[in-house]
Symmetry: C2
Subunit: 199 residues, 2 copies
């Protein structure tokens, strides 16, 4: 096990319980943090620069793209979002496993720039269960729910480049599996460490 | 997580504590077993066919080699030893993680035949510690100890095709890491499972 953390790319449909799995794992270990994104949108009430997001203007954002300072970026509803490479690398150096909660397109971008990143896809145990979870949240219209389910079906077919697939049927088990993947990643064969051991 | 177990190739110098790590992990989970080898040597007092080894004659051994029934084989001091493919595959089907405690040469053979096998190398935290452990066992001459240390130095340089490196400094931590690697292996992205989830 080396002192550095790993970059963990985490994807999965809305309703798969991604964040809940990570928060449950964080209860058991302190070497996990979420990445903080940059965004060009304005802070909402209560949002703090450097906590929810790093709030920057479009000029600075374009500069970060041009300088390859972002591991991935995308635009939603006229605002740009991205993952700052420097921030991620600092956390990794501090021994933190940095979680990137992003979609498959972003995952592909990051994976190209940091091929040593670990990719995890989280799925609910069935489409019926996904529907049940989305309905019980009560925040989406029936139309949105159908769209989310169709999207989940499509995404999993695109996801076959992911290293791991966690089926979130039981939260404790899913969190244990997530944590095990992080621990295993820290044990990947490391030539420098091997050389040190026989000095 | 699928129902099948994984083949775990485990190597490391004498004194690295390989078996102790596995036995500690077995205390916590019941889906781990050691593989049982075939051998042409005669059973010693107390050894049971199918427990310590499958005892077979040279003719049957040669037949197994010819029929590709062995995942790896080697000869020591006029006796032949090998890992029976059938036995291993049955255990894997039963959901067991099968541990092959073999040297690097055998690991290469198995890895070619079963590329999905997980390879783990276990090392003591330093050569001084390895010497201390070998000396405290009191079973080896000083000459044998020096030979074992030289061999460990050599082996780790050959071991760079292994997936994982566990430093066995603290037994509980090493067993936890070993167990995490097994759990992570069971979560590897599985296309069949992915297809089932969206049915």
């Amino acid at each position: 096990m080396t002192g550095k953390g790993n970059l963990i790319i985490l994807s999965g449909p809305s309703g798969s319980g991604k964040s809940t799995v990570v928060f449950r794992a964080i209860e058991e270990r302190s070497d996990i943090c979420f990445s903080t994104s940059v965004t060009t949108r304005s802070p909402r009430a209560g949002e703090v620069h450097g906590r929810e997001y790093f709030f920057i203007d479009q000029k600075r954002f374009d500069e970060m793209v041009a300088n390859d300072e972002l591991l991935e970026h995308a635009t939603y509803v006229n605002h740009s979002y991205g993952t700052p490479r420097n921030y991620v690398e600092e956390q990794l150096e501090n021994g933190m496993n940095v979680i990137l909660d992003i979609e498959i397109q972003g995952a592909r971008q990051v994976h190209e720039k940091m091929p040593e990143a670990i990719t995890i896809f989280i799925m609910p145990p069935s489409m019926e269960e996904l529907r049940r979870r989305l309905e019980s949240r009560g925040t989406d219209t029936q139309e949105t729910i159908e769209a989310r389910i169709a999207r989940a079906r499509h995404e999993i077919q695109e996801a076959d480049f992911y290293d791991y697939l966690i089926v979130n049927d039981n939260l404790d088990l899913a969190a244990k599996e997530f944590s095990a993947i992080l621990t295993a990643a820290q044990c990947r064969f490391d030539k420098e460490l091997a050389a040190k051991l026989v000095k």
